[in-house]
Structures are given as C-alpha cells and as structure tokens.
C-alpha cells in the first residue's frame, strides 16, 4: 500500500529544494565537464542521468544492455561528496560488480554475451554522521565502444 500523503510531502519537498532549474543546470554542467571525460575512448551515448543526492541517499537506474556491445559505466559525484558507491545488479538483484571492492573506482567496463536488463545502484555514503550531511550532483553516464 502506498501512503499517499507522506509520498506527496516527500516529493514536494524534493521539488522545492533540490530539483530547481538552477540546481539541475549545475548538474548538467558537472556531468558534461567532469563525468564525460571519464568515458575516455568510449563514445558517450548521449543519455543524461543526474540527480542531486545528500549523503545517505541512493539512486537506481534500469537499462537494457545489448549483446556483444562493450560498455563503460562512469559514475561521478561532486567534490563535496564522499566517494560514490555503485553496484551493478541483474534483475534478481544479484551483484555483478561492486566498486567498494575496487577502491571506489568511478568506472566499470564490461561486455555481454546476451542482452540483459541491469540495474545500477549508486549511493552517496554517509561517512561522518556527526556533521551536516553534504549534498551534490551525482551523474551516471554510459559509453559505447566503437572498436
């Protein structure tokens, strides 16, 4: 059951505080200026996925990845945020990749033998609960190998 009123309040608060055009515009500039460079030899597919996260918050992205294509996932967060955690999971939420096991690297390169629907989970971890949590843009970009 969805509790409609709290849902309304929750999302209205986000609308008013975090998703202003100015904030989103800054997020776009961040994604273009910082994250796109992390794709390196991979061609950016043109998709734009970014959200303003506060420490402790998560975002999820679902996407179809195609057989025999080589992809790079690039995740990056504002300097004010701790290292962004990300995991790639299948539709049963089995973990296929976890960047916490790889020094919190911001990219992962992979290829698929058959097309799959995968979920990318990202979190701005809360590293210092005693202080005011930081907020900032977190962007998820996809690169395609053209080799």
């Amino acid at each position: 059951m969805i509790r409609r009123f709290p849902v309304f309040l929750f999302f209205a608060a986000i609308l008013l505080t975090n998703l202003s055009p100015e904030a989103q515009g800054q997020c776009k500039a961040f994604a273009r200026r910082i994250c796109k460079g992390d794709l390196e030899r991979y061609m950016h597919d043109g998709n734009y996925h970014a959200a303003i996260l506060t420490e402790g918050e998560e975002a999820e992205l679902y996407k179809t990845f195609y057989a025999d294509q080589e992809y790079r996932i690039a995740i990056c967060g504002d300097d004010g945020l701790p290292d962004i955690e990300f995991r790639v999971m299948d539709i049963q939420r089995n973990i296929l990749y976890d960047n916490s096991e790889n020094e919190f690297g911001g990219t992962w390169d992979f290829r698929l033998e058959s097309s799959q629907q995968l979920m990318i989970w990202v979190r701005a971890p809360s590293v210092n609960p005693g202080r005011e949590p930081a907020s900032g843009c977190v962007a998820i970009l996809f690169g395609l190998s053209t080799r």
Binding site: I2, K28, H49, E58, A59, Y62, T64, A67
Partner: protein, 305 residues
C-alpha cells in the same frame, strides 16, 4: 491502491527524459513483469524507509546512437530509402507529430552518421533542429554546432560527438522544463524507428540465419520500459493515443517467449573488460515476424506521413 496510481504525479515531478531517457519516480512497490517473465523490476515492498534512501529511479532506453551502433554491429547496411524524408518536416504541425518525428529524425541521423553519410547527416541534423526549435527546445542544435558539423563533415568521431551532445542538450532541457509528455513521445518515436529499421533489414526467407532477428527479439526488453514511460505520462491525450498504438506492438511481442540463463561474471581478463556470460533462448516465427513488421510499418507510416 496500486503503486501505478502514483506514477503520473511522481513522474510529473521527476521526469528526466529526452530522445533516450525516461524518468521513473517510483516511490514504492513498483513491480513490472511481462508475460514471459523475462523482465521484472522489483522495488522494495516497504517504501517508508526506502523513500528516504532511494531518492531517484531512472529507466533508460537505448539512445538513437546506441540503436544505430547495434544495428551496424549486427550486419545492417545503409538504405536511404528507409529514412523519413527530410522534406516531410514541414508537415508536422501538432505537438505529437513534432515530438514523435523528432525521435524518428534523431534515430535516422544516428543511423546515417554511423554509416558515414555526411551530407545526409547534415540534412537530418537540420531537420531535427527545425523540429526541436518548433517544440521550443532551446539550443538543442545551435548554429555553432551546425558549423562544426559542416567543418568536420568527413570526421565520423566528431560527427558522433556532435550527435551525442545534441541528445544531451535536448535531454537536459526537457528535464529542466518538466516536459515529460513531449520527451515520452519523442523517445517512443525514436524507439519505433529503430525497430522499423531493424525489421526492414531482415530477409523474410532467411529469418533463422539473420543476426538482426536477435536485435528485434531484444527490443522486447526495452518495450517494457517504453510502455512504462507512456503509462506514466498517459494523463496527456497525445501520449494516451500513442500508447494505444504501441500496445498493438506489445500484443505481438507477447507471442514471443524469451528465456535467459543466469549471468556468470568473468572478470579475470587481460583487457580489463569484464564479460557477463549468459545465454538466451528465443524464437521468432515467420508468421509473427510478418505480423510485427506489418504493424510497425503501419504505425510508423502513420507517424511520418
């Protein structure tokens, strides 16, 4: 009360959409499952705690660039006759026709670009610019971009980068202006154009051997997301009518059963690229193929004419 009832409202707040991206502000138990149980999105049952953590959920479709790349790597050839002629651009006067055909033209643009058709790419970039301008999408394609495109007419890497940047501009503009129905229609137009191009690359007498058939079967995965996007924006009359058309395609895909094995991760590779190993079992009957091709062609023709 199903979670689907919250979708239009949530999406109206959160949609981040463009030719290829759709928003999925789903704050609860949003479980989607197709008839063959090969694609399910399970979100947490108890949203009260997760709402605080999972701030945003995105559903992302293949971009036109990715669609073109997949077509090419599957052995497609370039056929200009399959494209929506740029001369048609002046016909599109309604919001729906402009949005859908912006998706069609961006997919055609990507297809032409990837197959080294520079002049055609410029023509389709101009057509896309005209529709984007008419839809009020500011600076999706500016004059500087067109000049850069013309100055690098033989450099495919630069052209692809310009196409990518154009999508990103459109995507972010629509996000900032909360115009989800326009984005949903544009996305759907592009998705159908990709399917149309794939279907017309297959020799009906050689379905069993065609590599393109796998692309057509895989479209079933992203069709789920197309339908989700349209449902989320179905408060808009244009989107609702488009949804009726796409539902005809969904009905045909429901006749195709696809099963996938669990994924095995092979990460110990010299090139540093992890391989996700799995197999797919699916079959496309000739009769179903013909029905799909006929229906998609009919719908696409209704869009572009």
């Amino acid at each position: 009360m199903g979670s689907k009832n919250t979708m239009p409202f949530l999406i109206s707040l959160f949609a981040i959409s463009a030719a290829i991206l759709l928003p999925g502000g789903c704050a609860g138990n949003c479980s989607r499952q197709d008839s063959d149980r090969d694609f399910t999105i399970d979100l947490p049952e108890d949203q009260s705690e997760d709402m605080e953590r999972v701030k945003q959920i995105f559903y992302s479709l293949p971009s036109p660039l990715e669609t073109a790349l997949i077509l090419k790597s599957s052995g497609a050839v370039f056929n200009e006759d399959l494209l929506n002629p740029v001369e048609n651009v002046s016909r599109y006067m309604t919001n729906k026709s402009m949005a859908v055909n912006l998706g069609v033209y961006t997919t055609d643009l990507s297809y032409a670009s990837l197959f080294d058709q520079p002049q055609i790419s410029i023509d389709y970039m101009n057509a896309a610019k005209r529709l984007a301008d008419n839809l009020g999408i500011i600076d999706a394609v500016d004059s500087e971009t067109l000049e850069r495109l013309e100055a690098n007419i033989n450099d495919r890497e630069v052209i692809m980068d310009i196409v990518s940047e154009t999508f990103m501009n459109s995507s972010s503009f629509l996000q900032e202006s909360n115009r989800e129905p326009v984005a949903a229609m544009m996305l759907t137009g592009g998705w159908i154009e990709g399917l149309y191009l794939a279907l017309h690359q297959v020799d009906e007498d050689d379905i069993e051997q065609s590599r393109m058939v796998r692309i057509i079967l895989d479209k079933k995965l992203s069709l789920e997301i197309v339908m989700l996007l349209l449902r989320q924006n179905s408060h808009n009359d244009d989107v609702a009518s488009l949804m009726d058309e796409v539902r005809r395609i969904e009905d045909i895909y429901s006749k195709i059963e696809i099963t996938r094995s669990p994924i095995e991760v092979d990460r110990d590779r010299d090139d540093g690229v992890t391989v996700l190993r799995s197999t797919t079992d699916a079959r496309l009957d000739r009769e179903v193929f013909r029905e799909l091709k006929s229906t998609v062609t009919e719908i696409r023709t209704s869009f572009v004419s």
